[in-house]
């Protein structure tokens, strides 16, 4: 027993020691290192994924590179390099708080619980949860999943909603999208739930897209934001100015068109309501 108490004390010492190390703001950190480190996904097309040419690309990454980085360069008056690190739902908040990354730019839903721990940029994309099913599946939406085996991504808000709304559904939670899709294509599960846009992306990237269908109405509201360390408003302002300038100037729409347009990776037209919503977030200069 004495030994275990010793371990515990050691562990708590390590945890508290990391708390003493930080006194600089994110902007100071970036200024000193010359690098903006973002945490992003590598299997969530078209937001952030590894493409056929083995490049790490996506809508979220483009937004950082083409809208936020220029503002950051101007603010710090030097060329800042972009570095990408892999993040997952379970690791993204620790990555931020431990200073391993400065910005989470992937498919993270802005929620009140998360705002206790991190700060979010303005919303840069809006979607909601749906189901990916085999064509002709009896699963037509959240109303028809009772007793069915449903795959979800652990750490997502969708699994939480299913557990609360349809407790009889058998939820199987995977760590990432590829494993969940594998389970679906092997018929281990009847449907896979995730944000609608991600399912559309998955379907578009599947070997035979026609075998799959995205089913049901949105059963959740998922506003995507970029996450940052809490109480660092100068950096947050840079990020928001980058996004606002892009929305106001039309640059955002160009990037949107590249990924979600008719010729994009995942055709998903911007609805007039969503466009209006994005524009309303832009405050005057």
């Amino acid at each position: 027993m004495k030994r275990s108490v010793g371990f515990l004390v050691l562990f708590l010492l390590i945890v508290s020691a990391t708390g003493l190390s930080l006194a600089q703001s994110t902007l100071e950190k970036i200024d000193k290192s010359g690098v903006l480190v973002i945490g992003t996904r590598n299997g969530s097309p078209p937001f952030a994924y590894i493409n056929k040419n083995n490049d790490w690309v996506g809508f979220s990454i483009d937004l950082v590179e083409q809208t936020i980085l220029p503002v950051l360069n101007k603010k710090l008056n030097k060329q800042i390099k972009l570095e990408k690190k892999e993040s997952a739902p379970a690791t993204r908040i620790p990555l931020l708080t431990s200073n391993a990354v400065d910005l989470i730019a992937e498919t993270m839903t802005d929620t009140q619980a998360r705002r206790d721990q991190v700060d979010f940029s303005l919303t840069f994309f809006v979607t909601g949860a749906q189901f990916l099913v085999r064509k002709g599946s009896p699963v037509k939406g959240i109303e028809s999943i009772a007793g069915k085996r449903i795959a979800a991504q652990q750490g997502s808000t969708n699994a939480k909603i299913i557990r609360e709304k349809v407790p009889t559904a058998k939820l199987v939670e995977f760590q990432d999208q590829p494993a969940a899709f594998q389970a679906l294509s092997q018929r281990q599960v009847d449907a896979y739930t995730n944000d609608g846009i991600q399912l559309a992306g998955l379907r578009a990237k599947a070997p035979k897209p026609d075998e799959w269908a995205v089913a049901g109405d949105f059963f959740s509201y998922e506003p995507y934001g970029m996450a940052m360390r809490k109480n660092d408003s100068d950096f947050r302002h840079v990020v928001n100015v980058g996004l606002m300038d892009a929305i106001a100037s039309g640059r955002y729409l160009e990037i949107y068109e590249k990924w979600f347009g008719a010729k994009g990776e995942v055709p998903y037209p911007l609805t007039p309501e969503n466009k209006r919503f994005l524009q309303l977030q832009v405050v005057p200069k």
């Binding site: 030994r3 275990s4 371990f7 515990l8 562990f11 945890v15 990391t18 708390g19 190390s21 930080l22 739902p89 379970a90 690791t91 908040i93 620790p94 708080t97 431990s98 929620t111 619980a113 998360r114 206790d116 721990q117 991190v118 085996r149 795959a151 652990q154 750490g155 997502s156 699994a159 939480k160 199987v172 939670e173 995977f174 760590q175 494993a179 594998q182 389970a183 092997q186 281990q188 360390r229 809490k230 109480n231 660092d232």
Partner: protein, 241 residues
């Protein structure tokens, strides 16, 4: 660090229940996996030392194949590749009764069985050959000599390295989260999802694993003292030989 610790998330609402469920599932995987691992380990370990070449090759093949492929790969194998090979009736039954859990038990049991068998072999080979010869000269068959003499002695010898393996098995049960088994590590991530309190959840998981492993280790130490044959196996403290 801009992080506000709030340890009460670990016991408010559902989180306490989740941790408890996680511990129960982890212990279930541990117990069933350990049973398979020990059974396979004893058989394969003993077979690797018998004076019959084909049996040695068979056991050697099992050990080399299973211990040299990462556990994660075995996890995916038992979950994704195994069920489609089974008849439809068994598949349906498995899908209705938590196929993830059974795949995890098989993956961990068979993988650790290969590792256990090496521990077992080391134990058997540390027994002087004359012991077996003496047993055979009393009229026992090879099978009887192993069952009654060699394996009981070897089992006592291997308790320290077997403790290592047992604790490893317990910790490796966390790999099951990759195929969606709601064990302890999975539940700590679940708490992170619901409360955004990653450090608290991880700390809780760490401490629970520590307690479980220390318990296993002290139980094994107790067993070691209880089953020791006085005068037979040398102990540092007693100085007997």
């Amino acid at each position: 660090m801009n992080y506000h610790f709030n340890w009460s998330v670990l016991w408010t609402g559902q989180t306490g229940g989740w941790l408890l469920q996680g511990v129960v599932t982890t212990l279930q995987i541990f117990a069933l996996g350990l049973l398979i691992a020990i059974a396979l380990g004893i058989v394969a370990g003993a077979l690797r030392t018998v004076p019959l070449a084909p049996l040695r090759w068979l056991a050697g093949g099992y050990v080399e194949f299973f211990r040299n492929v990462p556990l994660l790969v075995w996890m995916f194998f038992w979950y994704f590749a195994m069920p489609p090979l089974l008849p439809q009736g068994i598949q349906d039954w498995l899908f209705a009764h938590g196929v993830e859990f059974w795949a995890a038990v098989c993956a961990i049991g068979v993988y650790h069985g290969a590792r256990f068998s090496e521990v077992m072999r080391a134990g058997i080979q540390s027994i002087p050959k004359t012991q077996l010869e003496a047993a055979l000269s009393t009229g026992l068959t090879v099978g009887q000599a192993y069952r009654l003499i060699i394996i009981p002695i070897a089992m006592r010898l291997i308790i320290p390295p077997a403790t290592n393996e047992t604790v490893n098995l317990l910790k490796n049960s966390s790999v099951a989260l990759t195929i969606g088994v709601a064990e302890l590590t999975f539940q700590t991530r679940q708490i992170e999802t619901y409360t955004a309190k990653a450090f608290e959840a991880l700390a809780a998981g760490t401490i629970i694993y520590l307690i479980l492993c220390l318990t296993v280790a002290s139980m094994m130490a107790y067993v070691e003292r209880r089953v020791a044959i006085p005068g037979m196996i040398a102990h540092g403290q007693s100085g007997a030989s």
